[in-house]
């Protein structure tokens, strides 16, 4: 067919299209006519240490070479989109924050932005900048985690310890602000849950001063190191056409040289008021994806310094009695305030009927939320477009004709979070 764009995917035959039942039957020695009996189907995962959670990949191997592969997901599926239909908009953030557990603020942000677009509320400036601060710090912590796991997968085991150590420092700041290291439920519809604590600037500055020398250490440990380069350069190469065809986003898309970052190209929050560079690769290989993540940490540090300078004063949540509970002090003196507070947290607030799609650039790519409301306190449909889920489709293409050891490097370079894949 002339309309077909499948020519953009020259390696599409590398996708193993085989049911698990059929694969299991092969183990008993039954081969269909014409099937290659020199190949072997091997499961990698779901409890393999390098599969970043519970990803399982069915690999068709010829010796050490991967011919075809099929990612099998769903081990963490708990029906979070269905659950979202039973939760109010107040409770919804606690649900979505558990999806991409390595970058929870983005989940809360995209959910809140969808509900706010339907509500038509304008978030106060300070809340916007607080959201941006937390997003960028979360991008740093998520990329640090990616550095750590990527290092461990490739054999730079000390990197695992360093990455987790630095990430823990960022999480300590999250704990100070939100009370929790992960799954914060901090960004809520209408603003954020609480203002930044006293002395937050000092904490952030200390964090930002701590990081650059550590990143230099990573450069010494990995970037310039011949073994590291050998393991990643030329591995899992992706062309720009393939990235576009496969709807890839985030570092996976940018590594192919496509200059696309939602923060700059479709600005949300106040990203149009800060100065930063979008990093792109040239080869589209695993090394580019590693380098992009490492340097995105540096760009995020740049953004955080600008946020420190420009953080406006004001309210941290919208003063709209419809979505915002009254301040704690009012509850002690006013019965109406108590009732109002009770109503918001039991019934929730209603959101006008409509449908909306919002997207943010999470640490992994485009995180989208499609929300349909019928005017009630709970969404009729809440769909999350997870960058990990969509990027996972690229894996068979990246793994084709490589070694099993390179498959590990490919998984690490795509950096999926299985909580978001399975939802």
């Amino acid at each position: 067919m002339t309309d077909s764009r499948l020519h953009m995917l020259p390696r599409r035959n590398a996708v193993l299209r085989m049911s698990e039942v059929h694969a299991a039957s092969l183990a008993d020695g039954e081969r269909l006519e014409g099937e290659n009996d020199q190949t072997m189907i091997v499961n990698m995962g779901p409890v393999h240490p390098s599969t970043h959670g519970v990803l399982r990949i069915m690999l068709e191997l010829d010796g050490e070479t991967v011919l075809r592969s099929k990612p099998i997901v769903g081990y963490l599926h708990t029906g979070m989109e269905k659950t979202a239909e039973t939760l109010t908009y107040v409770q919804g953030c606690t649900n979505v924050t558990r999806m991409d557990y390595a970058s929870p603020f983005f989940n809360e942000l995209v959910f809140s932005m969808a509900a706010e677009t339907l509500l038509g509320v304008e978030v106060p400036e300070r809340a916007t900048w607080i959201r941006m601060l937390m997003s960028e710090l979360n991008r740093i912590s998520s990329h640090l985690l990616s550095m750590a796991t990527n290092g461990m997968d490739i054999g730079a085991v000390s990197m695992m310890i360093y990455g987790w150590r630095e990430r823990e420092e960022v999480l300590r700041f999250f704990q100070k602000v939100t009370g929790l290291r992960m799954n914060h439920n901090y960004i809520r519809v209408g603003g954020v849950a609480a203002d930044l604590p006293d002395g937050w600037e000092d904490d952030v500055v200390a964090l930002m001063e701590m990081l650059p020398p550590r990143l230099e250490e990573y450069d010494t440990l990995m970037t310039g190191q011949p073994i590291w380069q050998d393991r990643l350069q030329g591995v899992g190469v992706m062309s720009p056409d393939e990235a576009i065809a496969l709807s890839a986003s985030g570092p996976l898309l940018r590594s192919t040289g496509i200059d696309w970052d939602l923060r700059r190209d479709q600005p949300y929050l106040a990203y149009d008021q800060v100065d930063f560079d979008v990093l792109v690769g040239t080869c589209g290989d695993a090394f580019d994806r590693y380098a992009i993540r490492l340097n995105e940490i540096r760009e995020s540090i740049r953004i955080v310094y600008q946020i420190l300078d420009k953080m406006p004063a004001g309210d941290y949540r919208v003063q709209d009695p419809k979505v915002t509970p009254p301040p704690r002090a009012r509850i002690d003196e006013s019965m109406e305030a108590l009732i109002h507070h009770f109503k918001i947290f039991t019934e929730g607030f209603t959101v006008p009927p409509g449908e909306v799609y919002t997207a943010v650039e999470s640490a992994r790519g485009e995180l989208g939320c499609y929300m349909v409301s019928d005017g009630g306190p709970k969404p009729v449909r809440m769909h999350i477009r997870g960058p990990s889920f969509v990027n996972l489709q690229a894996m068979p293409h990246l793994m084709a004709d490589g070694f099993v050891a390179d498959a590990v490097a490919v998984i690490a370079s795509v950096d999926p979070v299985l909580g978001e894949v399975d939802r």
Binding site: R5, L6, V73
Partner: protein, 173 residues
């Protein structure tokens, strides 16, 4: 940018783009209502016109929806299911949403796999959770649920389900 064009289109709801009726949703987002029979052709036309990426594809079950269908133009025949695809044009930095009505009696629609191969997993997810069949998909199988699962959980007539809690009685003694 779209802002100027958008203001005009709100006035005349009958505007057509790629043979589909245009409407505007919350936050000035553009929605094209595509006929189910023209789903594949419309996507092919749009892909050729720089709508290079299909970022998202999902479906909504409007069973029991109490309000007028959101951002639906007058005269549109409404069905129980809607398949929703979000397209992105990088050169124009624009997004558009395609929506197609899919009836309960025949929950099928053409697969966009050949136009946007990135819809592979997304269509499998919709098939798995919503029970809509995509004709022309190379491997339409369940993706999140086990292969032998029965039913489609995101449908409105699929109960949320509970696991009964086992309460323990204090010892009578």
């Amino acid at each position: 940018m779209t802002d100027d064009a958008g203001a005009e289109n709100v006035e005349e709801a009958e505007a057509l783009e790629y043979g589909a009726v245009v409407s505007w949703s919350a936050g000035e987002q553009k929605v094209l209502h595509v006929e189910r029979e023209r789903w594949f052709e419309t996507a092919a036309e749009m892909a050729a016109d720089d709508w290079s990426m299909c970022v998202d594809l999902t479906a909504v079950d409007y069973l029991g929806y109490s309000q007028p269908r959101p951002a639906a133009p007058a005269g549109l025949t409404l069905e129980r299911f809607e398949v929703v695809a979000s397209l992105l044009s990088m050169p124009r930095r624009e997004r558009v949403r395609l929506r197609a009505q899919v009836p309960e009696s025949d929950p099928t629609i053409a697969s966009l796999y050949e136009i946007y191969p990135g819809t592979d997993f997304l269509e499998r997810e919709v098939f798995d959770l919503m029970g809509i069949t995509f004709e022309g998909h190379p491997d339409l199988s369940r993706i999140l649920l086990p292969e032998d699962w029965e039913g489609h959980p995101l449908r409105k007539d699929f109960a949320v389900g509970t696991i009964p809690v086992q309460f323990k009685q204090p010892d009578a003694s």
